[in-house]
């Protein structure tokens, strides 16, 4: 059993009285790939929003690496080591793949350091290495807008990787991807887990089965079931939630 990297403790948030998350406590280990599944409105994306600081919880805490990060500003949470990928590909379309990755290179990230930034051999090497990992080694000079949908998703993952996060939050990374691209993404995420924890929100059960070490099922903002894919799939409550309506 390895050490936990992320813990949520009794995490709740409500929007106008609607409880999007209700007392959720989960623990993610440092080298684990965790999938979060559940029907629409279960609170999956909300959970990622709370962890990454996009939304402040009504109550409860988020602990990362033994530090309480609840309520920190987004950029501080990123600097603490949590990378967040959005549902729709979010890359800088007018910049090249190289520049996209360079933008995320963890320089001190102030306006001054950005002004003084120079492309050193280290930077170039790091960017080339990451580009290879996300299958974009031969597209470095191309503008991001010329990439296919799947490639944009990979580029965004690459932009997170270059920040050397301890935890990656991926929101539906394979949505809209072709079968071939899905296979490659599975491989990519499997390799990722050797260095960092990954939390994936995904609808595609085949994909989840291939990548997840453990699965957390949410339903109406609460924890419904947790465990390996086989255990979860056999759980009558889960079947009820997925087939019941």
């Amino acid at each position: 059993m390895s050490t936990p990297i992320l813990q949520t403790e009794n995490l709740s948030v409500s929007f106008d009285g609607f409880k999007a998350l209700d007392g959720l406590s989960i623990t993610v280990d440092a080298d684990e790939v965790r999938a979060i599944i559940g029907p629409n409105g279960a609170g999956k994306t909300t959970l990622l929003d709370l962890i990454s600081g996009r939304t402040a919880p009504s109550s409860g805490h988020v602990r990362f690496n033994d530090e309480d990060i609840t309520g920190l500003r987004e950029y501080r949470i990123v600097r603490a080591g949590i990378g967040r990928k959005f549902q729709t590909p979010s890359v800088y379309e007018s910049l090249t793949v190289f520049e996209n990755l360079e933008m995320s290179y963890p320089d001190p990230r102030s306006w001054w350091s950005a002004w003084r930034f120079r492309r050193s051999a280290d930077v170039v090497a790091a960017i080339e290495e990451i580009a290879e990992r996300v299958y974009l080694g031969d597209r470095l000079r191309d503008r991001a807008e010329t990439l296919g949908h799947g490639q944009k998703q990979w580029l965004e993952i690459g932009a997170l990787l270059i920040q050397r996060p301890r935890l990656l939050l991926l929101d539906e990374p394979v949505a809209g991807m072709s079968v071939g691209d899905r296979e490659k993404t599975v491989e990519l995420i499997a390799n990722l887990a050797k260095g960092q924890a990954v939390v994936v929100v995904e609808h595609d059960m085949e994909f989840v089965k291939k990548i997840a070490h453990r699965v957390t099922v949410l339903h109406q903002g609460r924890l419904l079931a947790e465990g390996s894919m086989e255990v979860v799939q056999a759980d009558p409550r889960v079947i009820e939630v997925y087939l019941g309506h």
């Binding site: 987004e74 950029y75 967040r84 959005f86 800088y92 007018s94 306006w111 002004w115 003084r116 503008r143």
Partner: protein
């Protein structure tokens, strides 16, 4: 994406030459920068008499504001409708120093309180207000020109951007600030000179700024500083910071989740734009010889935005030309048809936004010449070329694919 257009035809070497030259020109804005320098430093002084040169010098002080807007609005996506505030503060700081020098006890001996500016005396003020005292020193005045607007912008920026106030709300707030400051200046006549502003400025350390030679020197000082401001702007736009600003404009959330403190980056560029404006304001006061609230309020602030938009809000050089054009137009029109000017500038703004969203700088010179050449080549060839080479709405997709981005190459 100039380098993505396919060659004109297999024919004329002259045509290919023209194309190539224009490609290279566009690629290296440095060449355009040198052309602007020649225009400002040689062509204008040689072509215009001192009166007109002084007038162009005045236009060029507005160009500082436009440069600031290009960085802040065109690149950073922060529309400020209150740049007149900073222009005015810079200008007033300079005017206060000059006014104190012009109000020595000997010259103002007939006043009931000699040694204070005349408008204070008219308003029954008997001692120099404390906030005027630092402006006896030229060194402190120079500091104030940068620091007063800079600190105000820092305050506004920090207060707004930390709370995620952006877009149209930010624009409205800056406009309100412009309105407040001009009302304040007009209302506190005894301290500020009121609606007339601060006038009758004469000398700077004993050097008469109203003479022809002084005007020529000030014009050159202004032009050199403007070129310096452009160079500084280029250094930002070509750096990672420049790309970061565009990224903040286009995908603010992504930048935030890349670990950048977006609020501090926005504040930085807003402060920089404020300082640019303030320097322009100070140079305005020196060259025109007065400062008044008519350069502070909403209308001048919006005119400055229009100037930047006409020139091209993404282009530093374009903004300079846009400012010259709009202000030259303003001088001409407000002489010939004073009541029409506001309609003209309104129409200009709408026209530019609808037809040339990237302003003058966005007009593709090569495509323009290309079309011109096509016209000379006879109808059939033209139609054919148009069909194959100029798809509507911009660049040929095939060629775009492997084209390097503008500005910096890969390494």
């Amino acid at each position: 994406m100039i380098n993505s257009l396919p060659p004109l035809s297999r024919g004329s070497a002259v045509r290919r030459w023209t194309t190539q030259v224009l490609v290279d020109l566009r690629r290296r804005q440095n060449v355009y920068f040198v052309l602007l320098a020649i225009l400002l430093l040689a062509v204008f002084p040689l072509c215009f008499d001192i009166f007109r040169l002084n007038l162009f010098g005045k236009y060029l002080t507005y160009a500082f504001v436009s440069l600031g807007l290009v960085l802040c609005w065109g690149n950073g996506g922060i529309l400020s409708l209150g740049q007149g505030v900073f222009f005015g503060l810079g200008g007033y700081c300079m005017a206060m120093f000059l006014k104190l020098e012009a109000s020595d006890p000997v010259t103002t001996a007939i006043q009931s309180t000699p040694g204070i500016p005349d408008f204070m005396d008219w308003n029954q003020i008997t001692a120099l207000p404390a906030f005027w005292v630092p402006f006896r020193s030229f060194g402190l005045t120079l500091c104030a020109i940068v620091l007063v607007p800079g600190m105000l912008a820092l305050f506004i920026g920090t207060a707004m951007f930390r709370r995620r106030v952006g877009g149209v709300y930010f624009a409205i707030i800056t406009q309100a600030i412009a309105s407040i400051l001009s009302i304040l200046i007009i209302g506190r006549q005894g301290y500020t000179g009121g609606v007339n502003g601060i006038t009758d400025l004469k000398t700077l350390h004993g050097w008469d700024i109203r003479t022809d030679s002084a005007r020529l020197i000030l014009y050159y000082l202004n032009a050199v500083m403007l070129l310096g401001a452009i160079a500084l702007g280029f250094s930002i736009m070509r750096s990672k910071l420049g790309r970061l600003l565009v990224a903040v404009r286009d995908r603010e959330e992504r930048v935030l989740f890349t670990g950048y403190d977006v609020a501090s980056i926005k504040t930085f560029v807003f402060v920089l734009a404020a300082i640019y404006s303030a320097v322009g304001g100070a140079m305005f006061t020196l060259q025109v010889g007065f400062m008044s609230p008519s350069f502070v309020g909403i209308v001048p602030s919006i005119e400055m935005v229009i100037s930047a938009a006409v020139g091209g809000r993404g282009s530093l050089l374009g903004a300079v030309y846009g400012t010259l054009l709009v202000n030259f137009g303003k001088t001409y029109f407000s002489d010939a048809f004073p009541e029409l000017w506001l309609f003209v500038i309104g129409a200009l703004f709408i026209g530019v936004v609808m037809l040339f969203p990237d302003g003058l700088a966005g007009i593709d010179l090569r495509k323009f010449i290309y079309r011109l050449l096509l016209r000379f080549r006879g109808r059939g060839a033209a139609a054919r070329a148009k069909a194959t080479h100029l798809p509507p709405g911009g660049d040929a997709p095939l060629a775009t694919k492997n084209a390097p981005t503008d500005g910096a190459g890969l390494l």
